[in-house]
């Protein structure tokens, strides 16, 4: 039996004006377990807290009920007060007789009655409280960044600058990501490479940053502060220590038919290649699918021409196992597959291209060396049509239901750049809505219209028909003029919807990070915790969380870094003691609880139990209290009642129910 003290606060007149506090204290003494009750002007004051401490000592209290304001106000205060007096802080319960009672009721008798009931419920609960102790877990002071695009690079730099070790794992041979493929960036028209390359160099030169390119995350185990990750370093076939990056191998390589990933397949590359000139690391890889040596065993030219002797055909994949305290996901995006949008003739004409392809066309290092030309015949276009929302905002299964967010702005950018560089080219943009929220964004779009004379037409394109003369007939709506437009164009550019990198689902599963129906990673809270995954220790950076432009991505990357630093800065993690706990003798091992846990905190183990003399090995749920956040979803999913929540146990809640209903 507990020895409970009940303390009723007047809160000046806030409570005392409508609740007979003395009566509440008097009634409290009738409750089982209550050995002390008093009321006082301000319980939260120092004098009030001293009263609690005194009573704990004098009456040897084992539990405390404070009838006062909301626990959201002063629960922490009273818990600390109890702790200072030597009582476990979780032996304190609050009866909210202010917000839930005195402030909303006028009738003194009625309010007092209710306050008594709320007090009883709290007493009933405290009777079943048990001392709880927050757990501790250590923090490995190292962060893992999955993805080496601008989001990953920025997060890595910020974390490393704070003095922590960071590893970046990048799937492709070089860091840089999508941004390295862009020509110019809105709204200031900086050259993308000019602002990205210094960041890439900085990252690679940073003593705290270690970059694994051509590598993938293979396995993740552990939990916040203490993850263990296997990284597969794919065989590069080139010794990174020996290679000088001279590029001779790439020049001499006889196999040059592999489509260039960097140039979106618009031209080809050699089998041994670095994706682009500024690649970091500047060490080529051999594409074993395309390499003649690997396919036929004959060739070996690269090995012969390499003066550094860096070519190693025998190299094998390597698994690196490392421990991390925090993991940041920065897996980025890709454009969607356009197979289902045949009306735009993307597969039929080389002159229908995606916006990302246009970036490569416009880029000096691209397939046309920066000349705007038709990919079919190399002729300079005179009429260009841009189509917005290709695959975005679609409620059917052809596209994506969301707005890809960046298309309006980059289309304005493209239109502007073309009109600037090639004033004789007419540019028409078919749009549904032009969405330009952002600093200097709408001004930018207006410049395209007002200063550069880009022709914006409100309406969607229904179809693009390749003509025998090589032109493209664009049939679209002009909703404002209520006309159907037929327009001949030389090139058509599709603002293709973006989608999360297809690998993200696999990664999310490994991390037990939740993912939404569009494969974007879910944030812990849409508004208040936008860069954290609900899974503790996992942070989100960039487009993997939702469509964003570069400034937003960089901002979020910084935010994710700060959250990760906040975690890494701790030596130990105090874990919330109100976590789920499974009764081994009742657990069926059915996995139902595991299926509803949003944090991956429940795992199953084969354990030997002694069930009243029956010894057997059973499959049992084990809660990792470092991961458990105490939501209680598992407790209701568990049919046998094996899973219970400390601090909000089944019996505690039932005791409250009983007290209220009696």
């Amino acid at each position: 039996m507990q020895r409970i003290g009940v303390f009723v606060c007047h809160c000046g007149s806030n409570i005392a004006a409508t609740v007979d506090v003395a009566k509440v204290a008097e009634m409290a003494l009738m409750e089982p377990g209550v050995v002390h009750a008093e009321d006082y002007q301000y319980m939260c004051s120092e004098a009030g807290q001293a009263k609690i401490a005194d009573a704990i000592h004098e009456k040897k209290l084992s539990g405390i009920v404070v009838c006062s304001c909301s626990p959201r106000m002063h629960e922490a205060t009273f818990r600390k007060a109890a702790e200072r007096a030597g009582l476990n802080p979780y032996m304190v319960e609050i009866a909210n007789i202010r917000e839930h009672c005195s402030w909303i009721h006028k009738d003194m008798e009625e309010a007092t009655k209710k306050a008594v009931i709320l007090m009883r419920a709290a007493v009933a609960k405290v009777n079943l409280n048990t001392p709880l102790k927050p757990g501790e877990s250590r923090v490995t002071k190292r962060a893992l960044i999955i993805g080496g695009g601008i989001a990953g690079i920025q997060t890595a730099l910020d974390i490393a600058d704070a003095g922590y070790e960071v590893d970046i794992v990048e799937k492709t041979p070089s860091i840089g990501g999508r941004m390295s493929q862009l020509d110019k960036t809105f709204p200031t028209l900086d050259c993308s490479a000019c602002i990205l390359t210094p960041k890439m160099v900085e990252a690679s030169a940073h003593e705290k940053i270690n970059i694994y390119t051509y590598s993938e995350v293979e396995k993740v185990s552990g939990f916040v502060g203490d993850f263990t990750v296997d990284i597969r370093k794919k065989a590069r076939s080139v010794d990174m220590d020996k290679c000088t990056g001279c590029g001779v191998c790439q020049e001499k390589c006889p196999s040059k038919k592999a489509p260039s990933e960097f140039n979106r397949g618009l031209n080809t590359r050699s089998a041994i290649y670095t994706p682009f000139a500024q690649a970091i690391p500047n060490v080529p890889v051999i594409d074993r699918e395309a390499c003649i040596k690997f396919k036929t065993g004959k060739c070996g030219i690269c090995s012969k021409v390499c003066q550094a002797g860096a070519i190693d055909y025998e190299q094998k994949d390597e698994i690196i196992t490392e421990k991390y305290g925090a993991i940041v996901v920065a897996t980025g995006f890709d454009t969607i597959n356009l197979d289902k949008y045949d009306e735009y003739a993307y597969s039929q004409s080389k002159d229908v291209i995606t916006s990302l392809e246009l970036e490569r066309v416009m880029n000096a290092a691209g397939p046309t060396h920066g000349h705007l030309e038709r990919l079919s015949d190399g002729k300079a276009p005179k009429e260009m049509v841009f189509i917005q929302c290709v695959g975005s905002r679609c409620s059917d299964d052809r596209g994506k239901p969301y707005c890809s967010k960046i298309c309006c702005m980059y289309t304005a950018k493209h239109a502007m750049l073309i009109r600037d560089k090639y004033p004789d080219v007419n540019v028409t943009v078919f749009y549904i809505d032009v969405r330009t929220p952002g600093k200097n964004f709408d001004e930018f779009y207006r410049r395209a219209v007002e200063q550069y004379g880009v022709n914006y037409i409100k309406g969607q394109v229904g179809k693009v028909i390749p003509q025998p003369n090589g032109k493209l007939l664009v049939q679209g709506s002009d909703l404002l003029d209520n006309k159907q437009i037929l327009k001949e164009a030389d090139m058509v550019v599709l603002a293709t919807a973006i989608e999360p990198n297809p690998d993200v689902r696999k990664i999310a599963t490994m991390l037990t990070a939740s993912i939404d129906t569009n494969n974007f990673l879910t944030e812990a809270h849409a508004k208040l915790r936008p860069v954290e995954s609900p899974t503790a220790g996992i942070f989100l950076s960039g487009v993997c969380q939702g469509p964003k432009d570069i400034p937003e991505t960089v901002a979020q990357a910084g935010a994710a870094a700060v959250k990760a630093i906040g975690l890494l800065a701790k030596d130990k993690l105090m874990t919330n003691p109100c976590t789920a706990h499974s009764d081994e003798l009742l657990c069926n091992g059915c996995s139902t609880c595991e299926n509803v846990c949003p944090y991956g905190a429940i795992t199953y183990e084969d354990k030997e139990v002694n069930d009243h003399g029956i010894r057997e090995v059973r499959r049992l749920a084990v809660v990792n209290s470092a991961l458990c956040q105490g939501c209680g979803a598992c407790t209701v999913a568990c049919p046998s009642g094996a899973m219970d929540l400390q601090g909000f146990s089944n019996r505690q809640i039932i005791a409250e129910v009983d007290a209220i209903c009696r």
Binding site: M30, H612, G613, I614
Partner: protein, 343 residues
């Protein structure tokens, strides 16, 4: 010997109900159980086996013992009142009546169960002979005569009449009360009915069941038999057999918190349940085999050992009909017999 026309039975029930509570087989939602009579009740006298046995009337499945109320910081105990009103149970069968004898041996022996004793004192049993015994019946094996129920009043349903014969003082008293509705009758029809019943009973498949070897002295021999390990396996550990049984007498005592008071009550328990006789240290029967064995050893060995050889099975056959896994006492007896034969 009296008789009353079938069509006047509701008048009889009405008359009995005027002065005492009346329990009889009533069909509710397709099933027949003993329940209080009312004008609307669908009385089902022609069925042989109510789902639950009528032992409920004397030993209810659940019954309050006392209530503890709080008055300030003090407690007040209010015992439940003992049964103090007369009641009649109409339509019990010979086996069920014999079942009461089994319960009497338990509850009326020292220390007397006052709740049960009060009910026995105030209850009058009118029992019906079994007009058409069924294949699951084996009362004769346990010495019960289906044609001659040994109750306060024995009755026979023959054609359009119910024949009525008071056998005890209580029976006589009840007869007095309802005499206005009864007419004198001779015993010829009843004798014929008895003979007919006896003839049918002889044909029943379980009539040759032998209880040889089952007695109060068979404890160690039967207890240690390996056969139990086989027999219990299909058992689902439900309490059907015990709850339909007219002789099972185990109960548990529980408390219920109503919010304003705590009421202590007792309710039937089943030796098939895993928490049967659970104590602070745990459970003394840890496996279903042990629990299964307990039931039959109790009926056929332990009980006879304490009650001059009387078995605590009356052959009503309810468990035969109701066991979800088709297990029952007959199969157990036969299995041991077979094993014995093969030895």
């Amino acid at each position: 010997m009296y008789k009353i026309a079938k069509e006047n039975l509701s008048a009889l029930f009405r008359l009995i109900a005027e002065s005492s509570e009346l329990y009889l087989p009533v069909k509710t939602a397709g099933q027949v159980n003993f329940a209080a009579w009312s004008e609307e009740a669908e009385v089902a006298l022609d069925i042989l086996k109510s789902v639950k046995s009528p032992k409920d009337a004397f030993f209810p499945q659940s019954e309050g013992l006392y209530t503890v109320k709080r008055e300030g910081k003090k407690m007040k105990v209010e015992p439940e009142e003992l049964k103090n009103k007369d009641f009649v149970v109409f339509g019990m069968k010979a086996c069920d009546v014999k079942g009461l004898e089994v319960l009497d041996n338990v509850f009326l022996a020292d220390p007397i169960d006052t709740f049960y004793a009060a009910r026995r004192e105030h209850g009058t049993v009118v029992a019906l002979a079994c007009h058409e015994p069924e294949e699951s019946c084996f009362c004769k094996v346990f010495g019960v005569d289906a044609a001659n129920p040994a109750a306060d009043v024995a009755a026979w349903m023959i054609g359009e009449d119910l024949y009525w014969n008071a056998l005890t003082e209580k029976g006589e008293a009840l007869t007095e009360k309802v005499k206005a509705l009864l007419t004198d009758a001779d015993e010829t029809a009843v004798e014929a009915e008895k003979e007919a019943i006896h003839n049918i009973v002889e044909k029943l498949p379980y009539m040759n069941l032998s209880l040889e070897g089952w007695n109060g002295d068979a404890l160690s021999e039967k207890f240690d038999d390996k056969l139990w390990e086989e027999l219990y396996k299909p058992c689902l550990a439900c309490g059907t057999c015990t709850f339909v049984c007219p002789t099972c007498q185990c109960y548990d005592i529980k408390d219920y918190d109503t919010g304003n008071s705590v009421s202590r009550y007792r309710c039937w328990d089943s030796c098939m349940y895993s928490d049967f006789t659970m104590m602070a240290h745990g459970n003394n029967r840890t496996s279903q085999m042990q629990r299964f064995r307990q039931r039959f050893m109790h009926k056929l060995v332990y009980y006879p050992a304490n009650n001059d050889g009387m078995y605590s099975c009356v052959g009503c056959g309810r468990c035969v009909e109701k066991c979800p896994a088709s297990l029952n006492i007959v199969k157990v007896i036969k299995a041991f017999q077979k094993q014995g034969g093969e030895k």
